[in-house]
């Protein structure tokens, strides 16, 4: 029986990466594109953690990289939400004007 080693993880992360790219190419929605980027980030993170497990030298570097990327992804999502909501507000001003008037 073949053991699933580092290459198996590499193939999986390559698949996630390809899915992310397809998302970027086909989705027209900004949130959809953001999700594609999240897929790519996760693919990279999986590589880091798997490498930390299978490359028999240092054990921590891959994990540190992955932790920091998770934090960074959260930060980017926060900026993304702020930007997209502002964009949405401004680009739908023609329709949303009534609603803001009602709210005062």
């Amino acid at each position: 029986m073949v053991e699933f080693g580092f290459p198996a993880f590499l193939v999986l992360s390559a698949f996630l990466f390809a899915c992310g790219l397809t998302c970027l190419a086909t989705k027209r929605n900004a949130i959809g594109i953001l999700m594609g980027v999240e897929l790519i980030l996760n693919a990279a993170n999986l590589n880091f953690v798997a490498a930390a497990r299978f490359v028999p030298t240092f054990r921590l570097e891959g994990q540190v990289f992955a932790v920091l990327v998770i934090v960074l992804a959260a930060a980017e999502a926060a900026v993304a939400l702020a930007i997209f909501l502002n964009f949405y507000n401004n680009h739908a001003t023609v329709n949303v004007e009534n609603a803001t008037d009602l709210k005062g």
Binding site: L24, I33, A50, L68, L72, E76, N86
Partner: protein, 536 residues
């Protein structure tokens, strides 16, 4: 003799001293964020930002070359190479990059003045200082993790800055577009880095490159090839090289002018610096370049990229009427010229010592490009007013009469962009072309390099057409609108003067900068360190 652990602890404890100016900049940014809440005034914020920058400059000046000496002192008497161990490497490019970042910081604070108001001054300038600190770090961090995060330290404030000053529809589209493409490029870069880490098991840049070049003496592994191509693609976005350039015209046209000036310089600057560092061109490993091996694939890829980028940029710039769009395409074309130096440096055989290593020519051109492009944006900012907006080239009509000084400055920048003698643009182009022409390589590649130099020269001639058109409009055409008597902000004009002085000074006497760019990129080699590399 000191043990490995001793050396490491010393390097770790000493590392703080290598980033003091950056710490000051980030500290000032924090103060600005606080100031924005308690005392939201534009004057106070600009004053505080300038104090922070001056302090950082004073620290940089007082350190001088002392950091390099201190860096080497850590390993004195031991067989270890600090490049393979330290988290921060103040040798090579680092000092020059820090000076450049700080100088651009001053110019951008001056440019920010007309675009900020009391209510957003603190946030704007705080983000700007974080960006400057990040770009200064990129020259010196010696670790993939830090390099990636330092790149993000420039990107994230950029998203915010694109959004802060103006809130029209055009700006917002520009911001969303830039944001999505920028996080995509970060994702691709990270994926490339993850392969590099998987191949070597280390994130220390020096050690990683040493391991790779030892492994790639005969052939490059497919994985390393894919990794470096992804890294080149991701940096290609930042330097707006074809085919990753398509965001640039829209963002330049839609974005607020002061921020566009930053986007025109800082991402290109850090993109090139990070690229030469990851390609191992600054501190060359002993066993040859990490990604070149015996193949010439990477230089070829960059060669094609350089030719396509400069031609695409120049040809499309011919068709533009919008001034900022034109400058976007011109920026793309200039990225193509700058890539020439990288191509040359990538293809240099290990033992050669040419007069120009390629990287130094690119750095020189980068400085020249920064001066002339940022100067041009400063003047657009200066001329632009509500009654008389500057959008298309035709808006510049009659400026030669109504604003003789600023029109003369613009002419200096445009002549430098063309590459007229006595300007920094000429000196930079000359260095790039010579480095390509004189590169000590074998015949098949030698011909390619000469073709590259010739194509670049033809492109420079095409570029002259659209730059001269702007000069013609300024001096020969009548104004479209009556000249407004509105008070203008003087600070952008002051910034433009500084840029023009630099453009002319470095053009008349290029050694002022050429010496430091050459010192920053010595063709020295780092010995592979058995103790560290043996971990593999």
């Amino acid at each position: 003799m000191k043990s490995l652990a001793d050396v490491q602890n010393a390097l770790l404890a000493g590392a703080v001293h290598f980033v003091l100016p950056e710490v000051v900049l980030v500290g000032t940014a924090c103060l600005l964020f606080v100031l924005a809440v308690v005392y939201p005034r534009r004057t106070a914020a600009v004053g505080l930002a300038l104090i922070g920058l001056t302090w950082a400059v004073a620290l940089t000046y007082s350190v001088g070359s002392g950091e390099t000496t201190a860096f080497w002192a850590f390993v004195e008497g031991t067989p270890y190479s600090p490049h393979l161990l330290a988290a921060i490497d103040p040798t090579g490019l680092a000092a020059l990059i820090r000076w450049l970042a700080l100088a651009s910081g001053f110019i951008f604070v001056l440019l920010a003045w007309p675009e900020i108001q009391d209510h957003n001054a603190g946030e704007y300038l705080g983000c700007l200082l974080v960006m400057i600190a990040g770009s200064s770090l990129i020259g010196r961090v010696n670790d993939l993790v830090s390099l990636f995060l330092a790149l993000e330290m420039v990107s994230i404030p950029t998203y915010v800055l694109l959004y802060l000053p103006l809130r029209g529809r055009g700006e917002q589209e520009a911001a969303v577009k830039y944001f999505l493409l920028s996080i995509l490029s970060s994702g691709v870069l990270l994926f490339g880095f993850s392969y590099l880490y998987g191949l070597t098991g280390t994130t220390n840049l020096g050690a990683l490159l040493a391991v790779l070049s030892a492994a790639h003496q005969h052939a490059i592994t497919p994985m390393a090839l894919i990794a470096i191509l992804m890294v080149i693609a991701a940096f290609g976005f930042r330097i707006s090289a074809v085919p990753f350039q398509f965001y640039a015209p829209d963002v330049y046209q839609g974005g607020p002018t002061g921020v566009v000036a930053q986007i025109a310089f800082i991402p290109k600057f850090i993109g090139f610096v990070a690229l030469v560092r990851v390609l191992g061109l600054v501190i060359r490993p002993q066993d040859g370049l990490p990604f070149e091996a015996s193949t010439t694939l990477i230089p070829l890829v960059l060669w094609v990229m350089a030719i396509v980028t400069m031609t695409f940029g120049n040809v499309l710039a011919l068709l533009q009427d919008d001034l900022k769009r034109l400058l976007a395409y011109s920026g793309i074309a200039h990225s193509g010229y700058m890539l020439i130096g990288i191509v040359v440096a990538c293809g240099l055989p290990g033992n050669s010592t040419p007069a120009l290593s390629g990287v130094d020519a690119t750095l020189f051109y980068l400085i020249a490009y920064g001066l002339m492009t940022v100067g041009a944006f400063a003047l657009i900012l200066y001329w632009n007013s509500q009654e008389r907006p500057i959008r298309t080239i035709d808006n510049l009509g009659g400026l030669g009469e109504s604003h003789p000084l600023s029109a003369a400055l613009m002419t200096v920048f445009l002549f430098s962009l063309i590459g007229m003698p006595m300007t920094a643009g000429f000196a930079g182009k000359f260095m790039l072309f010579v480095s390509a022409f004189e590169a000590p390589v074998e015949p098949p590649m030698q011909n390619l390099y000469r073709i590259l130099a010739v194509v670049a020269a033809v492109n420079a001639a095409i570029g002259a057409v659209y730059y001269l058109r702007i000069v013609g409009v300024m001096y020969l055409r009548d104004p479209l609108h009556p000249v407004s008597s509105a008070r203008r902000a003087v600070l952008p004009l002051f910034a433009a003067c500084l840029c023009a002085i630099g453009t002319v000074a470095f053009g008349v006497y290029p050694r002022l900068i050429a010496d430091s760019t050459q010192q920053a990129t010595p063709l020295v080699e780092v010995p592979g360190n058995a103790a560290v590399v043996a971990r593999m």
